[in-house]
């Protein structure tokens, strides 16, 4: 079956269809990670997006079953594919791995998500790099659909859990504000001996008992969620340990009075270098965001904890006298390097 990728700027790319045979649309983004398509596709931050991978050979090791009963063992980042479409150069016609339960193609079919292969994803990446993420659609057998702009939607609404979920056990409890959280964030907290209550972003927590708060990652432009700041301000006043990750970090910054802006070159890779302003140590991190916290706007009382070695943008915040921390990158990773797990240890230390 033939398929076509059409961009809002009018460009189009011919390819072959795989996965579910339905046309789709969304925001086209790329990632330069060479491994981890399972983790990426199930990452809620990709909700509503058409994900293109720059690495050309995809599907080689198939797809492992989700292990849903124990989140610390989960091989997916959420219980379903979150991206609306998948764009690859070369879809492997064989999957060879002891841990593979199905082919990528079968998986996408099962999940009702279309894919397009045979695309020069390097050419596409250069377009997106220079003009920023843009809307696009994947047309299967010419069946038309309209462009869809996920940023017009309240994405966290779609990506977050609908009702509270509990994970793990421990004498201390962490409240997880879910904006579209990845499993491995929860896994990292549970592994450190906490009980986690995962609640929707708009959930009324007044009746809940908890000792610390996580503001999770999630999709979309932080500015659209300014209504969250009052809630987060309330949390801050409780003086409990808080850790914000990615979107959570940006919302924390907005609450603190800082500003966010759209990056000309979004960070969409597993090899983003950040430096820890305290230790002077540098780390390779996994990132996926198009917005950043404006360093100049960081209010007094806060320290720019991490910064990006490539473009100097802010990568984390540290409150001078409250146990509040946040990172723009994903310390939990998956897919990606596991070098910054210590951020969770720091969070634990705050208790």
């Amino acid at each position: 079956m033939n398929a076509k990728l059409v961009l809002e700027n009018g460009m189009s790319f011919e390819g072959k269809a795989f996965g579910a045979p339905v046309s789709t649309s969304g925001e086209v983004v790329f990632n330069t990670a060479m491994v981890g398509y399972t983790e990426a596709l199930t990452d809620p931050s990709y909700y509503g997006q058409l994900l293109s991978l720059t690495y050309p050979l995809i599907g080689n090791y198939g797809v492992p079953n989700e292990i849903s009963d124990d989140i610390t063992k989960s091989k997916w980042e959420s219980s379903r594919i979150q991206a609306f479409g998948f764009i690859v150069s070369n879809l492997s016609d064989i999957h060879s791995h002891w841990d593979s339960d199905m082919s990528l193609d079968e998986w996408l079919k099962k999940e009702g998500i279309p894919g397009i292969s045979g695309i020069d994803t390097r050419a596409l990446t250069k377009v997106l790099r220079d003009s920023g993420a843009m809307l696009g659609k994947i047309l299967i057998n010419g069946q038309e659909v309209d462009f869809y702009d996920p940023n017009k939607d309240l994405l966290i609404e779609k990506a977050a859990v609908k009702a509270p979920v509990e994970h793990g056990k421990g004498d201390k409890t962490v409240l997880l504000m879910d904006f579209g959280c990845r499993n491995s964030i929860i896994a990292n907290i549970v592994r450190r001996g906490f009980k986690v209550i995962q609640v929707p972003y708009n959930y009324d927590c007044s009746h809940l008992k908890y000792d610390g708060i996580i503001l999770s990652s999630g999709p979309g432009d932080p500015a659209r969620y300014s209504f969250m700041t009052s809630k987060i301000k309330a949390f801050m006043e409780e003086k409990k340990p808080i850790l914000g990750i990615c979107l959570g970090h940006q919302l924390l910054a907005l609450t603190a009075g800082a500003k966010t802006y759209k990056l000309t070159h979004g960070h969409r890779s597993q090899n983003q270098p950040v430096i820890d302003r305290f230790s002077g140590r540098a780390y390779v991190t996994s990132q996926n965001h198009g917005f950043a916290v404006d360093k100049k706007s960081i209010p007094t009382g806060w320290i720019s904890w991490f910064e990006n070695l490539n473009d100097g943008t802010n990568e984390g915040l540290w409150h001078k006298n409250l146990p509040i921390r946040s990172t723009q990158f994903h310390p939990e990773t998956m897919p990606g390097p596991v070098d910054t797990g210590f951020v969770f240890d720091e969070f634990k230390r705050c208790f």
């Binding site: 790319f13 790329f30 330069t32 990670a33 060479m34 491994v35 981890g36 399972t38 983790e39 720059t54 690495y55 050309p56 050979l57 080689n60 090791y61 492992p64 091989k75 150069s89 070369n90 492997s92 016609d93 064989i94 999957h95 060879s96 791995h97 002891w98 841990d99 020069d120 994803t121 390097r122 050419a123 990446t125 250069k126 790099r129 070159h265 969409r268 890779s269 597993q270 090899n271 983003q272 270098p273 430096i275 002077g280 140590r281 540098a282 390779v284 070695l309 490539n310 990773t333 998956m334 897919p335 990606g336 390097p337 596991v338 070098d339």
Partner: protein, 1062 residues
């Protein structure tokens, strides 16, 4: 950074040998560049005169001297450096450095080891310590034990059970290592090993596990990154240097990739490496079980590959870290982002080894945990099928890809699959053609099914063509994406290659140019590091350069073509740039400096095939090609490129052809009445014998089609000639055999020169120590000549001038002469740079290649007088053999080249330079005991006087039967040792084993292919027990004289510039 360091010594890796090839020229050159940037004075010690790193424009000072403790210590005393780099010259430099450290020499002179501390190196090299270190951070490694005795080895092997893996500490390229399936095998291997090492490692055999490598960089602030991971297509059991390797890994999940990455970083931090290193893993194909196989705490072949595969300059960065920088303080030259990052590839890289086993008599073709390959190629593409087929073509072995080849597989499919040899990949293809299943092949090879399936994809296309499927545009495009060359398709589709090309033209099917930028397009790139792929819709690089010279590189290193041509290519590129024109390189060898992206204005890491270079030419529309720098591969393309109207710079193709084509060339020589050995091309054995008898034996035989063994041989009788023609060759109208009169006791000389419009601009004559009959590549060269008649040189000069004029040469050329009683004959003439250009250029301090390049660019050059007699030094170039690694191979030289590398040293006289050169290729000096088998009666007589000389100076002389009697008869005291076959004591082999002999001189009895087993056994034993060996009479005589004249004190510690005449 550390500004106390003002002056640094860098140790090179000396001659190119199996396991230590060009990669260290690349890493050394990068280190020098990095230090110069810091204003640090650099002193290089490396006798490999053909390297780029020993060029006059890199290090501040170059010592063309052996990388041995004695020499290096003296140099350190003289130069008083602040620091020393040990990790850029392979195992040679590392071992030498460790010895300097242990002997307290570095301490004594207050010299700091830059980069990874010696303790760390020690912990990685000593397997016992290494395992302890891994235990401290509970990382898994193969069950193993380091043992110091045969008994201990057997006991432990008994405990863990056979098969076991045996390995050697402080060895590289898996020297002497291998699987021992039985006790007997263990005993045999181990006893050999203990003759040159005190410690071996017995460990759990993990054959069949995935073999994965990571390249890791760490700075002194403990910042640590993994720059590249690689997966071996051939699973564990086959040395990474013998394996097909892909980057990045293809069959690892994110979990596995990150797990091994994380462990690597933990290990390297715990070890405390500062700079670059390589970690190798075994990974269970059926679980997340892993083992750490080893860490190389130095730049390695893998790191050179990783640098080229990712565009991340590992050696350059490592040198900076050695100077005290932090990774976060350095930047990525390609994107100008931070150097603290991990490259992201948007393409796949395939590395393939190049073997030359056919060149050796008696050698085993099996491959395993020890290296035998002499070089490698790297291909880049956007799918595995395309990239693998490109890599195969790059090897230049005649293979056109996976399919459409002559039959390569000699033994049964089953055997060649389960007993890996250099032909296994093609056995896999044959198996698919025969209809065997992926499963069946997997069971026998343990090659991951993913790779097997991809190979099958390629074969399937061939089968479809075989079934007559019409090659329409879409099928054509599909095939091109699967890496099919036009030639392959022509063969399989019963068409002409040009037809396929025209079909592509009509359908507009051309490859796209893609750029390697280390960030998969996330940021814009500044450099032009490029490759071609059919999986693309646009070019990253669209510039046209009417002023560009496209230089074709030398391809993989192999016997007969090595770093010397890379030097020529790099110098040519530099000269083109300096003359303000655009320089573009096409090459495919990751070990080279010419594939360093900043050496040229643009680098295409691509095939050197007609099809590919034409595609590039059409996109660039350059001034033309330079074919005379990269050796024979580019040279062979001349006629075809010219015939298709592609511009070639330099000597006109018609003349190149006239020199290459035997009959045309010979006719020309006759017209000019220049003498040449009588020769004839014959199509049947009968006329061959007749001609041989007419000109008289011995004769040199060159079949045009070789079935097995050597391509050339010398026959001394009808019997031998018949035998050779029947056994080795197929003689017919299609495949004539060329027979030439073989001149005995003749001198051989090299004429290297540059001509402009047929007029010689500069030239050098080098003399061979060996008489004609030892391939020029294996010969010991002397410049200026010491034992050649003035008249002979005059004739060579005059003859060469005639040839240059007649061929209207524009550029470099080389003529080989044989001379006998002042008559010179031409053996061959190449209108390109030759192996000896770096040697003559550096010895005479006149850059022949720079001059040649200017001529090629039509910049008028004035003739240069080189005052041979004013030189106060003599240079000697000596060959490096790698027989140690080629189990079974007969280490005797002949008309076929068999050396893998070379060195050259300078001295105040021949003897000094000669001894230095020999030490550089592994001779021990001084020598106190020699074993002599002096060969035929004639040679016994010839050797007598020089043997007398060393005997008089008190040398202990051992001799075999005939020689002993002969010496005794001429009252030269000697101890007779029994031939191996006699199995009587005292026996030769026993003495060699016990290290009672410093040097073996074994002159083969005749030129016959099948040598007497006795002589073979002695030569082989010498090699296996690491005793220096000489098999040529002239070399023996020169050495005996030198030994009698030279003592340690005479070996002067002088740098290259201290010799050069300005």
């Amino acid at each position: 950074m550390d500004n106390k360091i003002k002056k640094v010594v860098i140790l090179g890796s000396a001659a190119i040998k199996i396991g230590e090839a060009g990669e260290f020229d690349y890493s050394g050159s990068q280190a020098i560049k990095a230090l110069k940037e810091e204003g640090v004075k650099t002193i290089l010690i490396n006798p490999n005169i053909a390297t780029i790193q020993t060029s006059d424009y890199l290090a501040d000072r170059v010592y063309l001297l052996p990388v041995t403790v004695d020499f290096v210590e003296k140099i350190l005393e003289k130069e008083k450096p602040d620091g020393i780099l040990l990790s850029f010259g392979g195992q040679t430099a590392l071992n030498c450095g460790l010895e300097l450290y242990d002997k307290g020499i570095l301490k004594k002179h207050g010299i700091q080891v830059l980069g990874t501390p010696v303790e760390t190196i020690r912990n990685t090299e000593d397997r016992k310590k290494f395992n302890q270190v891994l235990d401290e951070i509970n990382v898994d490694y193969p069950k193993s034990k380091a043992v110091g005795s045969l008994e201990a080895a057997e006991t432990f092997a008994g405990e863990i059970g056979y098969p076991v893996m045996m390995r050697i500490a402080y060895a590289l390229g898996g020297l002497g290592s291998g699987v021992c399936r039985t006790k007997e095998q263990l005993v045999e291997r181990a006893s050999k090993a203990f003759s040159y090492t005190s410690q071996i490692l017995i460990e759990e055999w993990l054959g069949g596990w995935k073999e994965i490598e990571y390249e890791i960089v760490r700075d002194k602030y403990d910042n640590c990154i993994t720059v590249c991971n690689m997966e071996n297509v051939d699973p564990l059991g086959i040395h990474t240097g013998e394996s097909i390797v892909v980057a990045p890994s293809q069959t690892l999940s994110n979990r596995e990739y990150q797990k091994l990455r994380g462990i690597g970083i933990r290990v390297i931090r715990h070890l405390g490496v500062v700079g670059e290193c390589n970690i190798q893993y075994a990974l269970d194909p059926f679980s997340e079980e892993y083992r750490v196989i080893e860490v190389n705490a130095r730049l390695s072949r893998s790191s050179a590959l990783a640098s080229k595969a990712t565009g991340y300059p590992l050696a350059f960065i490592a040198a900076k870290l050695g100077m005290g920088y932090g990774l976060h303080e350095l930047s990525n030259a390609i994107t100008e982002t931070s150097a603290f990052f991990e490259p992201s590839l948007d393409y796949i890289v395939v590395k393939m080894p190049r073997w030359d086993l056919k060149k050796f008599r008696n050698v085993s073709r099996r491959i395993g945990s020890a290296m035998k390959s002499v070089g490698e190629v790297m291909a880049i593409g956007r799918n595995f099928e395309e990239t693998l087929q490109k890599a195969i073509r790059m090897l230049g072995t005649g293979a056109r890809g996976l399919v459409a080849n002559e039959k390569f597989v000699t033994s049964s499919i089953e055997d060649s699959l389960s007993k890996p040899s250099d032909e296994r990949l093609f056995a896999v293809v044959d198996a698919f053609i025969e209809g065997y299943s992926i499963e069946w092949i997997y069971e026998r090879t343990r090659i991951d099914k993913w790779f097997l399936h991809k190979i099958k994809n390629v074969v399937d296309i061939a089968l479809r063509l075989g079934q007559g499927e019409n090659l329409d545009d879409s099928f054509l495009l599909e095939a091109k994406k699967m890496g099919y060359s036009d030639e392959q398709l022509a063969i399989l589709g019963y068409k002409e290659e040009e037809e396929i090309y025209n079909m592509r033209l009509k359908a507009g099917i051309h490859p796209s140019i893609k750029r390697i930028d280390t960030v998969a397009g996330e940021y814009p790139a500044k450099t032009n590091y490029l490759y071609l792929t059919y999986e693309g819709i646009e070019d990253d690089y669209t510039e046209k350069h009417p002023d560009a010279a496209i230089i074709l590189g030398g391809g993989p290193y192999r016997i007969g073509s090595s770093v010397e041509f890379d030097w020529c290519c790099v110098i040519a590129g530099k000269t083109v740039r300096e003359s303000g024109k655009t320089s573009i390189m096409i090459n495919c060898n990751p070990e080279t400096v010419s594939t360093d992206y900043d050496e040229f204005d643009a680098l295409f890491f691509e095939e050197l095939t007609f099809e590919t270079v034409r595609e590039i030419y059409n996109k660039i529309d350059p001034a033309g090609f330079i074919l005379s720098m990269g050796g024979q591969i580019p040279n062979n393309l001349a006629v075809r490129l010219d015939a298709n109207g592609l511009r070639i710079l330099g000597t006109k193709t018609e003349y190149i052809d006239r020199a290459e084509n035997r009959s045309l060339f010979s006719a020309m020589l006759d017209d000019l009445n220049i003498m040449q050995p009588e020769w004839k091309a014959l199509t049947d054995t009968k006329s061959a014998l007749k001609f041989a008898n007419d000109v008289g034996y011995p004769v040199l035989v060159r079949p045009s089609y070789v079935l097995s063994g050597a391509a050339m041989a010398v026959a001394t009788s009808d019997l031998e000639l018949k035998a050779f023609l029947l056994a080795a060759a197929d003689v017919s109208n299609e495949y004539p055999v060329v027979i030439s009169k073989f001149y005995e006791n003749a001198k051989e000389l090299e004429f290297d020169a540059v001509a402009q419009d047929g007029e010689i601009i500069c030239y050098a004559i080098s003399e061979h120590v060996e008489n004609a009959g030892t391939h020029s590549g294996d010969a010991t060269l002397v410049l200026p000549p010491q034992r050649t008649y003035f008249e002979t040189e005059r004739q060579i000069r005059i003859t060469s001038a005639k040839i240059a004029k007649n061929l209207k040469i524009n550029g470099p050329f080389n003529i080989q002469y044989i001379a006998k009683n002042n008559e010179v004959r031409v053996i061959e003439c190449n209108l390109r740079a030759s192996r000896s250009f770096p040697f003559v250029s550096k010895t005479l301090n006149k850059n022949f290649i720079a001059i040649a390049t200017k001529v090629i660019l039509r910049e008028k050059q004035k003739p240069i007088r080189i005052p041979m007699y004013d030189y106060e030094h003599v240079a000697v170039k000596a060959p490096q053999f790698s027989f140690t690694r080629l189990r079974g191979a007969d280490p005797a030289t002949g008309v076929e080249m068999s050396s893998t590398g070379e060195v050259a040293c300078l001295g105040d006289n021949f003897h000094e330079a000669f001894i230095k050169a020999l030490i550089s290729v592994g001779f021990k000096f001084p020598v106190t005991s020699i074993l002599i088998s002096s060969g035929p009666t004639a040679s016994k007589a010839e050797l007598l006087s020089s043997i007398k000389v060393i005997s008089d100076m008190g040398m202990i002389i051992f001799a075999t039967g005939g020689t002993s009697d002969f010496l005794t008869a001429h009252d030269i005291p000697n101890l007779k040792l029994n031939w191996p076959l006699d199995e009587e004591k005292p026996g030769v082999v026993e003495y060699l084993k016990e290290g009672k002999i410093d040097l073996v001189v074994n002159i083969p009895k005749n030129y016959n292919e099948d040598e007497l087993t006795n002589d073979y056994t002695i030569r082989r034993a010498a090699v296996d027990y690491a005793v220096p060996l000489i098999t040529n009479r002239q070399v023996a005589m020169r050495l005996f004289e030198a030994l009698s004249k030279i003592s340690k004190e005479d070996l002067k510690i002088k740098s290259w510039d201290e010799y050069s005449v300005k």
